[in-house]
Point group: D2
Chain length 284, copies 4
């Protein structure tokens, strides 16, 4: 696979954006392989994802943003540039649940995720052997109400040291502090085991059981200061019946959680997500 460049951009909508951006790429001998755009209905913000082959492109990688700068200025664009051969560095945060953690490792191993996983952080020790079985570095950071801030400091230092780009909470059962979250805007992906906004917070399967719903769900979202309220990336549900106990739901839900989290991680790694306020634009 030869490398491509991916440009994600947003700006107030106006005529000529698509033409200008595609001209920029064409005039520097790039071949566009994917382009998608969206304009929000009321606020008229324009969002775009454009991907082109680097082969033959006549600007060096490190100079592309500089060359694009005049265009970006003209249209007041926010933009970010990515390359398909640069693998983001992911940190996994885990507690005791194995299914999402294991699933991510397996998908990574099968080549489904183009990333590196240099760090696993867990507030328990149960999953240490699993991490080590797969040759992953496991850092045990137990959290108590008293030392949360200090422990998060330790985590932040480790994330920096390992040059982490994105954190995936693979059923991590701790609530991160606002301070921590603010340092990683739209770069922490969580999986919540309900179809949000229903059943936010603790024990969503118990809540679902008590309400007597006929479907259960899972939601993957970016983490923000408000619990289970960040921009939603992916959601799905499965049907259940009166026969399903809370533990049946837990078992059935595991499949959902794995698939929905994997989907969100893949979309993030492929730079297909743009965040707009409390919502996401996902260019599939």
């Amino acid at each position: 696979m030869k490398p491509n460049a991916i440009l994600l951009l947003s700006c107030p909508d106006q005529k000529g954006i698509v033409a200008s951006v595609s001209n920029f790429i064409f005039h520097h001998s790039g071949n566009i392989v994917h382009a998608a755009q969206h304009t929000t209905e009321r606020s008229k913000i324009f969002f775009m994802r454009i991907e082109w082959e680097l082969e033959g492109f006549d600007i060096a990688r490190g100079k592309i943003l500089e060359a694009f700068e005049p265009l970006a200025k003209k249209f007041s664009m926010k933009c970010s540039l990515h390359f398909t051969d640069v693998q983001p560095r992911i940190a996994l945060f885990v507690s005791k649940h194995i299914h999402c953690f294991h699933d991510i490792i397996l998908r990574h191993k099968m080549g489904e995720f183009k990333c590196q996983i240099p760090l696993v952080i867990g507030n328990h020790l149960e999953l240490k052997p699993v991490a080590e079985q797969f040759g992953l570095s496991y850092l045990h950071v137990p959290i108590t109400p008293d030392d949360k801030v200090q422990q998060e400091e330790r985590e932040l230092a480790e994330l920096k040291r390992h040059k982490i780009d994105c954190i995936v909470l693979a059923r991590y059962m701790q609530v991160l502090t606002d301070r921590f979250v603010a340092r990683w805007p739209n770069r922490i992906i969580n999986i919540h085991h309900s179809f949000l906004p229903a059943f936010a917070g603790r024990s969503p399967y118990q809540q679902a059981y008590d309400r007597g719903v006929k479907i259960i769900g899972a939601t993957s979202h970016y983490v923000t200061e408000t619990l289970d309220d960040g921009p939603i990336i992916a959601q799905d549900v499965i049907k259940i019946s009166h026969r399903d106990s809370v533990s049946d739901m837990e078992m059935k839900g595991k499949d959902l959680e794995r698939m929905v989290l994997a989907r969100a991680v893949r979309l993030h790694l492929e730079n297909r997500i743009l965040v707009h306020g409390s919502k996401t634009i996902v260019f599939e």
Copy 2:
């Protein structure tokens, strides 16, 4: 199709219920064609639906419950008896939305619903021609905040006069009074256009849009005094994306609403639902 009898029953769980009930049917020469049971996990309440052929059964229809009485007493059963050749009488309540109304009429016409529809009540006039096109009797009962109680009295009288068994709110946009609801326990079926408990109340698609969810849903439930909080009969969802405006959701949701409401109505008409507190047991 020869007629069957259906017995729905519930009682505290204990040994011998299935044997006693099936013996009762067997000793009176009935052939069981469907039997399903469920025992709640903690409260240990036993629920059963049992269906048998009336042909050859040696008790006359009108005497079955009497003959069953000793058994019912012994196990402290609540039970109800139904016959597959007796068509329940349904009243449809509508406002301006045509899709659920039209869908129910079409399914009825195609033989999917074994029921009669002697009465349609609408608080607007828009759907009167549609009802009449299909030969249905349409009663216009406009509701204002001032005359709600009187108008509901009128509706209650009409329901009585037409010997209605079950009310289906086919996107009826009025909230029924507690008094009205109390008269029709577990016999009013509503369709709400969200996956409850998320987005209860007004404008669920707008709420869904504002939250940025990636699925929208529909929920059919029995109506209780608390809005959108009754026992859920059926639910389903479809996927949406950032491209879907509120009106796109409304259009896509119509398919869901039609299917979920139809499913709930069919389950009710086939006597497959037992209500247990705020939840349903659905024997499919």
Copy 3:
């Protein structure tokens, strides 16, 4: 809703197509509101759908293709131009099944389909009253093995007379002759009640029952000379179980057939489909 123009095009892939097309629109003061592209993996054919606002666009509708001609030539493009305020004229072909027919009429009435339906052709008389109930012109064209060719001639004449753009077979139970099909390439939409290629031909639900599958499906496709083999536009399935008889499948399948056909018709009407050999590219 102000009118937009939609250009569908395909050509051998090469650099500069997106830039050239978007420049063309921009330089004539058009505002692009939707653009999607796809390049086939091996044959490297480029496909594009691009939609822009006509307001402010400085070429008159009737002159756009002429003005675009040099570009089209340069890239060896096949292209077609459409306008969102021009409603295609649909003919419905029906037999005795009411559900798809009724569903299309209802969706049309609710504004879900932007089209006109000036003609319904049926080889039976059962659905004539339904058509007339909705004010549609119904032509009865009975078909026997002996007079098929003559009757199709009559149909072709009527289609011409009514300036029909697209034919929808709403569970029409006759096989069209190759001669007829050849006159309407990629403009006849059929619904087949199985997940093709499984269970092509007659009685797909009976075939599904005999095989003991756990899902049944529906497929909407363009009609080609080979039965049930044309380019697939949309497909979906629902789960069934051993309890479902053939007639249960027929009933459950009706929902699927309606939804899948409606989806295909909508995609066609919105000019979102390009055909590539035996496959479709669907820009949603």
Copy 4:
């Protein structure tokens, strides 16, 4: 969890079966916790699954079938008896694909499968380290066209030696001989990566790609002498689009294959499946 007994039975339909079976259990002080039945439409064969608590049941496990014998004779029943605390012994057959294999091991580890896995047989060496990582015994049995029969003899001997109850083909890429299959009727579970009967045989994703379908599927079935033709246990599909290459389908299909196979294995382990000719009755 206290142990239950499960009786699976089938016989020609007649009055009194349910009563007789439930009486048998009741008179020996058993408490029925689950009962489901089905009668085939035309052949009128009656199928039943009945589960009761062994606690308090007054017949010793080893004597139950003997005590039930008169009843079984009277109704010409075929029946099998199972206990929920007896874990079936599973052999996994694998080739090079890791996803189904890994998934089964993980589910087993998480307690989702109540079974033992004393043996893994592979015709390649790739998955040996994975098996050993999880402490499973891995037997390498390479197969060539010339030694297939001898190698299957070796496998049959190992299956016997390990007292295997059921074989799961976790994407095992060899076709078993009729002779082998005949020894394990309805006890070999396969996963095929298409919605059968479509795309049987080799390279189903390539076949799906070539046909241009909009859904791909997976089917789990018991293995019979005819390839990909055995009684279907579970099936599911996911949507795809023109953008999906064969390798995209392979990646997306892995999720399906894992879930559908896991579902079939769980149903088998819970003794919820009865086979009737070329079809299954699945009591969920």
